[in-house]
């Protein structure tokens, strides 16, 4: 069970949240000019690293706002929480 530090509400139990998958995926600026491969990359292809992963979470049972989390997928340890639109923080190596 994760303890997630919502940037607006503070630390809450994981059951209040939903994970929204990989963060920082930007919708293409000119979608009408994309070919099939570029659409596939935008819609379906995802990073799936064993280690640090930047992902989106939403505080569904709280403030209902989205934010970003950097979490280690081997230890479930949350390394950083930051608001949408902010760049991912520069974390010192190593992750664990």
């Amino acid at each position: 069970m994760l303890l997630i530090n919502c940037p607006w509400c503070g630390a809450r139990d994981e059951i209040e949240f939903h994970c929204g998958g990989e963060a920082h995926i930007v919708r293409p600026e000119q979608p009408d000019q994309l070919d099939d491969a570029a659409w596939a990359d935008y819609l379906f292809m995802r990073g799936n690293p064993k280690g640090r992963y930047a992902e989106r979470w939403v505080h569904s049972a709280g403030c209902r706002r989205w934010f970003n989390v950097i979490r280690d997928t081997t230890s479930h340890r949350i390394l950083a929480v930051y608001k949408p639109g902010e760049p991912p923080p520069d974390l010192a190596e190593p992750s664990s």
Binding site: M1, E14, I15, M45, G47, N48, T73
Partner: protein, 416 residues
């Protein structure tokens, strides 16, 4: 390979079973192989076995980073069925089910395949409509499927709570009588023993740390036990599919999630079929030891840690108590998690990769065990002939570009 028979069992019984030979060798890796299979779970071992049996390719190594069947093969809830919606999936899973039906004899190893039937419960009108449609689609594809009204369900499974006062009452079910369960460890061991007898080298404690390429072609692998050359490499790494693909610079649409399961204390026989409920979400069967084997939904976040969050199990227990009030006082013995590789359309990727000589069999998500023999059979064909069999031809990586997805979220039965 020393064959198992009535006489060999009787003879060894006289010496207290102390003189059985080892079931497979533990060879040192050779410098080069025709084919290397990365991953010694059920699917990888089945691939190696069918490469040798169907295609005469025996200069094969299976590289396993841990021990045989120590990953998802030993962590699933052992359910076997083929009641998938689309023609492509029905062909794949039904091919597998037909192989299951002769598997113990084929491998000379008792995989304890028990066709006790699989029942998928419906709790809402939408559930009923989707399930009846799937059931009719199954029949058109030659997959056995029946529609059960609550009275029929009561006859097959008397301990199920069919009260209309449930929050989501049971409104009916689809039933596949040929479905059932198999002994998961025996599947890995049976394939390993049979592949080894054909000359396949099974190398455990040997993790692949790199895929070596020259001029857009695979030439071998780097492992924790040194470099090994190979003309072809088949990746069957389940939860680690993305990690292996990344070694060859390939991005996949796969996300790795924890999927949890647990078993109860053993009790006398109360359940002689498999019950699955997608809507309120729990699925269970009773093992030969008497334990109830119970599966949960996938956790929402990515993980490689082989464990999930407790609230997932809590929700699954709530569903169990609702459907089976008589099991409410049962104690649970242990729970565990496996890492499942989930595709956006809940169907696997089985085929050639953009690098010559590299093949991938992954993305089975929450339901790969049932496909073990069929998956190995079509993947062996694909590697041997450098082209997919018609059964796995639709299951390409390219389908995410063309849009020809095979959406099986309904039939997958596990929420994710």
């Amino acid at each position: 390979m020393k064959r198992f028979s009535f006489w060999s069992v009787a003879r060894n019984a006289l010496s207290s079973h102390a003189h059985w030979p080892r079931q497979w060798r533990s060879p040192e890796p050779k410098p080069a192989y025709d084919v290397i299979i990365v991953g010694g779970g059920g699917h990888g071992l089945a691939t190696a076995y069918y490469l040798a049996k169907e295609h005469g390719i025996t200069n094969v190594a299976v590289l396993e980073k841990g021990w045989l069947g120590g990953g998802n093969t030993a962590r699933n809830t052992t359910i076997v069925r083929s009641n998938y919606l689309w023609d492509e999936s029905a062909a794949l899973y039904e091919h597998s089910l037909k192989l299951w039906e002769g598997l113990s004899r084929d491998l000379n190893y008792n995989v304890m395949f028990s066709q006790r039937g699989v029942m998928n419960l419906c709790h809402t009108l939408g559930d009923v409509r989707a399930s009846r449609r799937r059931s009719e689609a199954n029949r058109l594809n030659g997959v056995d499927s029946e529609w059960l009204e609550p009275a029929d369900i009561k006859r097959i499974c008397p301990i199920l709570n069919l009260s209309p006062s449930l929050r989501y009452p049971v409104m009916g079910a689809t039933f596949q009588p040929r479905g059932g369960v198999a002994r998961h460890d025996a599947v890995a061991w049976g394939f390993a023993r049979a592949a080894d007898a054909c000359g396949v080298d099974i190398i455990q404690n040997c993790a692949v740390i790199g895929l070596r390429r020259e001029g857009g072609r695979i030439v071998g692998v780097d492992t924790t036990r040194g470099a090994i050359d190979a003309k072809k490499v088949g990746v069957v790494a389940a939860g680690h599919s993305s990690v292996l693909a990344e070694m060859a610079g390939i991005r996949l649409p796969i996300q790795s999630h924890p999927l949890q399961a647990l078993v109860s204390e053993p009790i006398k026989p109360v359940l002689h079929t498999v019950i699955m409920s997608s809507a309120i979400h729990v699925y269970l069967s009773q093992s030969d030891k008497g334990e109830l084997v119970i599966g949960a939904g996938a956790d929402g976040y990515n993980s490689y840690a082989q464990r999930g969050s407790f609230h997932v199990i809590e929700e699954q227990m709530a569903a169990l108590c609702e459907l089976f009030p008589t099991l409410g006082r049962l104690r649970m013995l242990r729970s565990w998690g496996g890492i499942v590789d989930i595709c956006p359309d809940a169907s696997p990727i089985i085929g050639k990769m953009p690098v010559d000589g590299l093949y991938l069999n992954g993305g089975w998500g929450t339901g790969g065990f049932k496909a073990t023999p069929g998956s190995g059979w079509v993947f062996a064909w694909t590697i041997a002939k450098d082209a997919p069999h018609p059964i796995n031809a639709p299951f390409t990586l390219d389908r995410f570009t063309t849009g020809a997805l095979i959406a099986e979220h309904g039939a997958a039965a596990v929420a994710h």
